[in-house]
Subunit: 352 residues, 4 copies
Amino acid sequence: MYFTSDNWAGVHPAISENLARHSSGMASAYGTSALDKQVEQRFNEIFEREVAVYFVGTGTAANSLALAAVNRPGGVAFCHREAHVVKDECGAPEYFTGGSRLQTVDGPSGKMKPGELRRELKSFRPDFIHAGQPMAVTITQATEVGTIYQPEEISTIAGICKEKGIPLHMDGARFANALVTLGVSPAEMTWKQGVDVLSFGGTKNGCWCAEALVFFNPEKAKDLPYIRKRAAQLFSKTRFIAAQFDAYLKDDLWLDLAKAANDKATRMAAAIQQSKHCRLAWSVESNELFPIMPETEADRWRAAGVMFHQWPVPGDLTDKVEEHEVVARLVTNFSTTDEEVEEFSKMVLAGA
Amino acid sequence: MYFTSDNWAGVHPAISENLARHSSGMASAYGTSALDKQVEQRFNEIFEREVAVYFVGTGTAANSLALAAVNRPGGVAFCHREAHVVKDECGAPEYFTGGSRLQTVDGPSGKMKPGELRRELKSFRPDFIHAGQPMAVTITQATEVGTIYQPEEISTIAGICKEKGIPLHMDGARFANALVTLGVSPAEMTWKQGVDVLSFGGTKNGCWCAEALVFFNPEKAKDLPYIRKRAAQLFSKTRFIAAQFDAYLKDDLWLDLAKAANDKATRMAAAIQQSKHCRLAWSVESNELFPIMPETEADRWRAAGVMFHQWPVPGDLTDKVEEHEVVARLVTNFSTTDEEVEEFSKMVLAGA
Amino acid sequence: MYFTSDNWAGVHPAISENLARHSSGMASAYGTSALDKQVEQRFNEIFEREVAVYFVGTGTAANSLALAAVNRPGGVAFCHREAHVVKDECGAPEYFTGGSRLQTVDGPSGKMKPGELRRELKSFRPDFIHAGQPMAVTITQATEVGTIYQPEEISTIAGICKEKGIPLHMDGARFANALVTLGVSPAEMTWKQGVDVLSFGGTKNGCWCAEALVFFNPEKAKDLPYIRKRAAQLFSKTRFIAAQFDAYLKDDLWLDLAKAANDKATRMAAAIQQSKHCRLAWSVESNELFPIMPETEADRWRAAGVMFHQWPVPGDLTDKVEEHEVVARLVTNFSTTDEEVEEFSKMVLAGA
Amino acid sequence: MYFTSDNWAGVHPAISENLARHSSGMASAYGTSALDKQVEQRFNEIFEREVAVYFVGTGTAANSLALAAVNRPGGVAFCHREAHVVKDECGAPEYFTGGSRLQTVDGPSGKMKPGELRRELKSFRPDFIHAGQPMAVTITQATEVGTIYQPEEISTIAGICKEKGIPLHMDGARFANALVTLGVSPAEMTWKQGVDVLSFGGTKNGCWCAEALVFFNPEKAKDLPYIRKRAAQLFSKTRFIAAQFDAYLKDDLWLDLAKAANDKATRMAAAIQQSKHCRLAWSVESNELFPIMPETEADRWRAAGVMFHQWPVPGDLTDKVEEHEVVARLVTNFSTTDEEVEEFSKMVLAGA
């Protein structure tokens, strides 16, 4: 039972087949082929407006180039204390921005608290250049702990950004998982709430490596071709990304895959909630589960063949996790089977 | 007749099939899967020694990270005047090294002249820090104009590097094409001549996006995991690169593909040499041809359906290219057909 | 009564006169003059060992280049939550290191708590490159809130650094002020406790702009000439810094100036402690005072002509500062007069 | 006889005295004092328009921050082949711009040839991002070989910049020396010809370390406070730079000092022109002389006590300098005496 990460999965057959279908013949390179253009057009449809789209190879690249694109001298970007950009990207955002800083903001359940954001922003006054200047806010949807910002929560944060004249970036490494939970349109989850730039992830949801940087105001993306090329993210045979997105976005495949993953997580959560030996750290809103349990219980799970990451205990859980308890992270994916869910559930309840 | 670039081609069926074969099932991420390890081991065999291998997504990434890995404060890397690193990577090497400089070195036929390298190095004296300090020499094999360094030429340049205490990097975007022309082993073309770091390219020769950074002294590569991750080049589902290399390096496929491309170029060169209306700028030693011809002849080729790049006239050709003449670049690839070669040859000779 | 900052003061007459004395005649440039060499030698004497010294123009430069000199890819430097490097240098350390990160560490009284440092360091494991890698710890002596690390506290932190194989840097913008309080030798406050690199500040204590970067192991500073020049910190007429340090370090002037400033602060602290309307946030151990008082009292001080900064309330004071109270920062300097201290004390007690 | 460099000189007494005059008393820090403001105002008068002025510590800082301020992703700045920015700043411009490139342009007498600039710019087309994008042209006035751009030459280059939509920067490390030769106003030598940004140097002409970054369109300089602070170039006691400029710009002192230096160079040139053993590489138009002579003659000069730099033979002199000949560089300064000039002239002619 592999629940280590959704990036341990392979790719969906429809995507693999489309890649094979486009593997022969000649096509112009560096993002100029007919397929590239057609998939870019597809993003316009999905977001119900003209957007500027740039394919890149990793989520770290998408996030880092998004911040590089809106960077300012002495720039400071604000993210949640547990965000992937600050915890898991080995300093890539700082590296690509030439040293701009990520300032963490507190908030429960992996979500930035608007009041805390306001408080942090107060330290940066135009007459006090020593602190640097705010240049962006970045939120993660779904968050690093699998929770989801409601549209109005996004809108509130976007409002603060507008006040301060800085753009709002959304790290959508698990964009589809959030979308199907909310049941809103891509437009409603992004620009209609005030999101300016989006990292649109496909890799964790059934692609090989397909990430897109989406600017809702194409005017603001004029330097992106240079920013992407300079960062070694302009692939020559770009149709290999375009072909993945082509299949991914066809006939709602992307939404179906995310629904499948989320559904499995929901069912696994139900088992956890019935157990006396573990409890959920946060509500399960996408495809991640964070059970808290005694180390002995975690050992039992491992012995039963469950693979998962042990999670560092974040600040807002310090009081809720007892000594000798651990926090586990389990992630489902598009290919998780009903059998795995059942086997997991039985295993959990067998301990009760 | 597509001769615009070898990166306009797709992928070889054996590679595409291997990718499909590895697309299902779970595998540990970020370069730790069994397949990753197995392909890394394959590099040891190919190079007849233990090497450190890092897969990345683009040739620009491989070159830039190679230089970042050997960088020094105020660093200066030396490359040929027409090298890809300085002409076609949008400043990526400078960006990834935090501002180290590429100093161009002259030399005919796309190859760095050892005397010119020595001359340039003389400007950099330990007691004159204002100039910066040399940190690497980088050569391209095959070169940007399709020529090839003989092993003893590489050895001569490596000797200069050793004297100065700086490493020698080889940009092997077309490594296989050079190798089959020389008919030597990978080891003989690299570390046995004194090459320290290699960008091993697969993309132009039949892969989707498969590039590897190879360090012949693994001790020197200890920080590479951080260098690669920080540069957003650590893919999560790395098996998609490993699977490409797995098929590429199996049963000499890579050498067969390169041989096929080179052979086509050789045959096309023969037609050009028979024509009275065009002549070759440099000898054809791999899969690139650079015919010089009157603009009217170039127009005739285009009208006949030949697709190619018009090439900026480099310094050493200034006296050899008349006004109203142009330099064209034609590139063959693994999938170029006999029919295309024949059609091209007929077209060329029809003008004679 | 100017207590805004010690950098509002001018320079001590002895330093000004020495500058004038060295203003005529020719001297070799870029740090190679006899005076430069002589002052460098003086640093060896002061620190009782051979050190490598590099003069720079600002404290921000000294700190940033210290970190740049010990930087590693994906590097993370640890500093106190309120440290100058992270709060007041506009991202210079991150900029000069090409994007390395400053990770803040908690601790009361402006001092890094060893246990907290250990806790933060735990997140960085060699097998988890996503977090980056520790590359330095930096402490401030005297701290940003005017307190002082005892030698054994420095030694404890240095011990943690040694365990992790990372260097310990000391930001000594107010080095002399700390030294005279402790009554130890420069060696005892630095390398004898395990400090590897020091920013030795003169500007705040009576110079115009005289800062030195001191490496206790000169072997580790070999690239510094390039690091400093590349950062635009190699002055041509370096004797203008050397002449300042020459006078500053002569006949213990630097210690006398620091003693004078500290003494004034101690006397002002006594007045504050007698007042019923204000109290000290932290003990006064160098030349800074942080009284907490009602806004109305602060207004009274201002009306009486006292100039000071209002200080953002740091985390460890949150519970100690009531609503409607503010934290003020007052800084004495080498030129603060007895009259000012008496006027201030009277003013404070007049409110009682 | 010290002719090694004008930065071997000290400071003019009027400047030294003004520094002493401003050394006592309190003044607000970080560029906000009354003296700072007054000197900034003086720049408006000198340039006959409102300008944005930023004091920095070195010429390298001024040039590098000027380029950082106008930087673009994948940016390429064009400078003369022998320019200080590319030859003598240890990569600082590339470092401060995060890896933008300096592309050298040929031209005789140390001056960029407009035709060559146009030719280089042609390689950069909006549809070919691989080459990067032009972001500035930078010229040096007086040039690195002591020659001077005529106003109409500046205007021609500025015209090319306007066509391409990129700013023109002038490195004015020897601004005053050029100005007095041309006999035009500061405005006529800069913005009236189309210069956008100026590095205004005082150090080589009688200051300790006084350099200013001048933006003729203050709107374009909005981020400069952050750019300067982040680069560690915001001094706390900025009045030490302001006081230097205050005296330097008072009663035309700066012009008088430059005239004195230039006059000495002119007289020394006359001696060289009368000698049979040496000749001038370029016409002497400011305070630098470049005699070409046999090595034996150079040895004779050295033996006679003349201190100078031997200069690397630049490309346009290759045919003019015989084997066994060397190029010397002699620089006069504000404090060069009549006696030195006479002694030098006699020495030169004694060899004839």
